[in-house]
Amino acid sequence: MTLLAPSKPGQLPSPPRAARSGRHRLLPYLLLLPGAVWLLVFFGVPLLQLAAASLYDPSGSLSTGYAMTWAFGNYPDVVQAYWPQLLRSFGYAGLALVLALLLGYPLAYAIAQKAGRWKNLLLVCVVAPMFTSFLVRTLAWKTILSDNGALVGLLRDVHLLAPDGRLLATPFAVVLGLTYNFLPFLVLPLYASLERLDPRLLEAASDLYASGVQAFRRVTLPLSMPGLVAGTLLFFIPASGDYINAELLGTPNEYMIGNVIDSAFLVRLDYPQGAALSFLLMAAILAVVFGYLRRAGTEEVL
C-alpha cells in the first residue's frame, strides 16, 4: 500500500502517503470509539444479560439464585400465557398509528407547505406538550375523559354514549392516549421531509393535468416516504412497548405486554419470564420493522 503513482508535475508535493493514509484510516474509528464504548456498555452488555436471563432455569428464585440452563422452554411458556397481551399491544399500537397518520399527515403538510410565517410557532405547538412529563399529560387525559366530566356529559346528552357509558377505562381511552402521546414523533420527521418538497413539482404535475389526488399519490407521497417511514417507526416502536397508557387509562382487559413485563420484573420477581417477554417483544418489533421496510423500500432510514 505504500507505492502509488508518482505525483504529476505541477502538483504540490504531497506528504509521505503511508503516514497520512495510516492516520486517515484510524481517525474514523477513533471518532467512533466513544459512541461504540457507550453502546457496548449501556446496550450490548445489558442486552446480553437480558438474553442470558431469559434462558435461566425458571425454577430458580431470588434467594437461591438462578442457574443458566439454556431453558429455551421459557419462550413457549410466556407466549402461551401472554399471547393476548402481545397481540393487543400490536393491535392498539397499529390502531393508534392509523389515527396518528390521519391526524399527523395533514398537520405536517399544513405546517411545512401552508403555514408561512406561522411555521415556527406551529412547530413549537407540536413540541410544547413534551415540555411537561409524559405521566402528567396522561393523567390530564384521565381528567378530561372522567365519567363525571364535561366531555362524557356532552356525549351522553347527544346520545353518542349510553347513559351509563364511559370513555375512561376502555380500549378507546388507551388508543387515544397512545395516539396523543406519540403523535409528535410522527409529525416531526414527516414535517422534515415535506418541508423539502418543492412546490414547483406540484405545479408541474397540475400542468400535466394531474388531479389533486393524482399529484398527491404520484408526487407528494413518494417524496415524503423517508419521513413517513421514519415517523411510523418512531411512533410504532415505543407505542407497542408502552404500558403507562394502559395502566392509567385502561383496565386489566386493556393491559399491554409492557404491563406484563413490568409486573414480571417488579412484582412477581419472575426474571426469566420477564426477560423472555422483553426479548420476544424486541424480536417481534424487529420483524415488523424489517417487513415494513422491505415493503416500503426506503433504505435511507436504516
Binding site: 377505562a169 409486573s263 419472575d270
Partner: protein, 394 residues
C-alpha cells in the same frame, strides 16, 4: 492484503470475522451467566455500628408519613424535637413510593451485602417479611428499645415474621376494607355487594396489593386470611375472576384510587383506611367500611438494613417514636392506625375527635375482626402472586 487469495472483499471478511467473534463471545458469556443467591446470613454479612462516634441517621420513609408544621411545611416538629433532644442529625428522605419499586432499587446492594446508605427504611409487612427471610435486616437490641416492648399494640405483637419484635417495628398501621362515595351510590356493607351489585358495574376498583384484595375475598368466603389452604385461595381467586370478567371491577390500583373515588368515577372500592379518612374530611359522603367478614390489618415497619452503620441511633429514634405523647402527635397528622398503646390518652389532649376515631384508635371489636395476611414462603409467594397477577391482567 498480502495474500493473493482475494475473492472475499475486505468488508465481507471484516463483517464475517467480527460477526462470528461477537456470536462466540455472546454465546460464551451467556453460558457463564446465572446469578448467585441473594440470601444473606447474620454471620456472612456483618454490619458495623458507628453510632458511638457519628451522630447521624439516614431515614427513608413514604411521602406524607411524618407530621409537618402547619405554617412551614419544611419543619417536622416531632423529628426536630428528637434532633434537639439527642443531637443526632437525621437526614429524612421521602423516597419510598412503592414496596416493589423500592425493593428493585436496593436489591442489588443488599444481595451483595453492600450498604444502601440508609439506616432506617419503612416497608409493608409482606415486603418486610421477604427482606427478613432473605437475611437483609439487622436485629435490634431489645434492651435499647424498651418503649416498643412496653407500648406496642397487642394485636401487632409477635407477628409470624418477627416473633421477638426486634427486627421490624410498626411505624403506622392501617386497615384495608371497603370504601364508597355516598354521592354516587348507596351504602355498601359487604364484599359480595361490591363484587355483584349491578348498579356498581364498571365503577369498582380493587387493590393491586394481592394480600389486601385476596384477604378480603378469603374473609368473605368465610375462610381465615391468616391461615388458609391453596384450594381456599383458588376459590377466592375464582370469585375475583368472575367480577373481572363480568366488567364489575374496572381496574386494580395502588394509592391512585383516591382521587377517582373523590371525583365519583369510582363509586366503591377496596381501599385503605388512611386514604379514605383523608377523603372523608373533605367530603363526608366518602366512607370507609370494615366488612363484617373481616378487614385486613397491615403495618408499615421500620427496619435497619444490613451494612447500615448507625443502628444505635436508629434504636434511639424507634424508641422515641414509641413514647405515647410523640406517637399521638404523629397520629394526629397522618391519620393511620397508631400502633402505640397509651397514645389514645395523649391524643385526648390534642384532639378529642381524633381520639374517638376507631380508624386511628380501633376498639377491640374492630381489631378482633381484623386479620393479618398469612406469611408466605418464597414458593407460595411466587405461585399466589403469579395466579393473582394473571387475574388482574398483568
Amino acid at each position: 492484503m498480502r495474500t493473493p487469495l482475494r475473492p472475499l472483499s475486505r468488508r465481507g471478511l471484516l463483517t464475517g470475522t467480527l460477526g462470528s467473534a461477537a456470536l462466540l463471545a455472546a454465546g460464551g458469556s451467556l453460558a457463564g451467566c446465572g446469578t448467585k443467591g441473594a440470601q444473606q446470613t447474620e454471620a456472612g454479612c456483618v454490619s458495623e455500628d458507628l453510632s458511638g462516634t457519628e451522630k447521624k441517621l439516614a431515614f427513608s420513609n413514604w411521602p406524607q408519613y411524618m407530621d409537618v408544621d402547619e405554617k412551614d411545611e419544611s419543619k417536622r416538629p416531632s423529628l426536630d424535637e428528637f434532633i434537639t433532644k439527642t443531637g443526632i442529625q437525621v437526614t429524612y428522605t421521602e423516597d419510598i413510593n412503592d414496596n416493589n419499586e423500592f425493593f428493585g432499587k436496593v436489591q442489588n446492594q443488599l444481595a451483595a451485602c453492600q450498604s444502601t446508605d440508609r439506616d432506617i427504611i419503612v416497608l409493608t409487612d409482606w415486603m418486610a417479611a421477604r427482606m427478613i427471610r432473605l437475611g437483609w435486616i439487622q436485629k435490634l437490641d431489645a434492651a435499647k428499645i424498651p418503649n416498643v416492648q412496653a407500648n406496642l399494640l397487642p394485636s401487632l405483637l409477635n407477628r409470624s415474621f418477627d416473633t421477638e419484635n426486634r427486627i421490624s417495628i410498626p411505624w403506622q398501621s392501617g386497615l384495608a376494607g371497603l370504601a364508597f362515595n355516598g354521592s354516587v351510590t348507596k351504602e355498601l356493607r359487604t364484599v359480595d355487594e361490591l363484587l355483584t351489585r349491578p348498579d356498581l358495574k364498571g365503577k369498582v376498583t380493587a387493590l393491586s396489593e394481592m394480600r389486601d384484595t385476596m384477604g378480603l375475598l378469603l374473609g368473605s368466603n368465610g375462610h381465615d386470611p391468616s391461615n388458609f389452604t391453596a384450594a381456599q385461595f383458588d376459590d377466592a381467586l375464582n370469585k375475583l375472576k368472575k367480577a373481572v370478567d363480568s366488567g364489575q371491577i374496572r381496574k386494580f390500583t395502588g394509592n391512585d384510587y383516591a382521587p377517582d373515588l373523590a371525583k365519583g368515577d369510582i363509586a366503591a372500592c377496596i381501599g385503605w383506611s388512611g386514604d379514605v379518612i383523608q377523603l372523608s374530611s373533605e367530603n363526608e359522603k366518602v366512607q370507609f367500611v370494615a366488612p363484617d367478614s373481616g378487614a385486613m390489618l397491615y403495618s408499615d415497619n421500620m427496619m435497619v438494613p444490613n451494612k447500615a452503620t448507625h443502628k444505635g441511633n436508629a434504636e434511639a429514634l424507634i424508641n422515641y417514636y414509641y413514647e405515647p405523647a410523640v406517637a399521638a402527635k404523629l397520629a394526629a397528622y397522618v391519620n393511620y392506625i397508631c400502633p402505640v398503646k397509651g397514645a389514645q390518652a395523649e391524643m385526648e389532649k390534642i384532639d378529642p375527635d381524633l381520639a374517638a376515631n376507631p380508624l386511628i384508635f380501633p376498639d377491640d371489636a374492630l381489631l378482633a375482626k381484623s386479620k393479618v395476611f398469612m406469611a408466605l414462603d418464597e414458593k407460595q409467594e411466587k405461585e399466589y402472586e403469579g395466579k393473582f397477577q394473571q387475574v388482574i391482567g398483568a
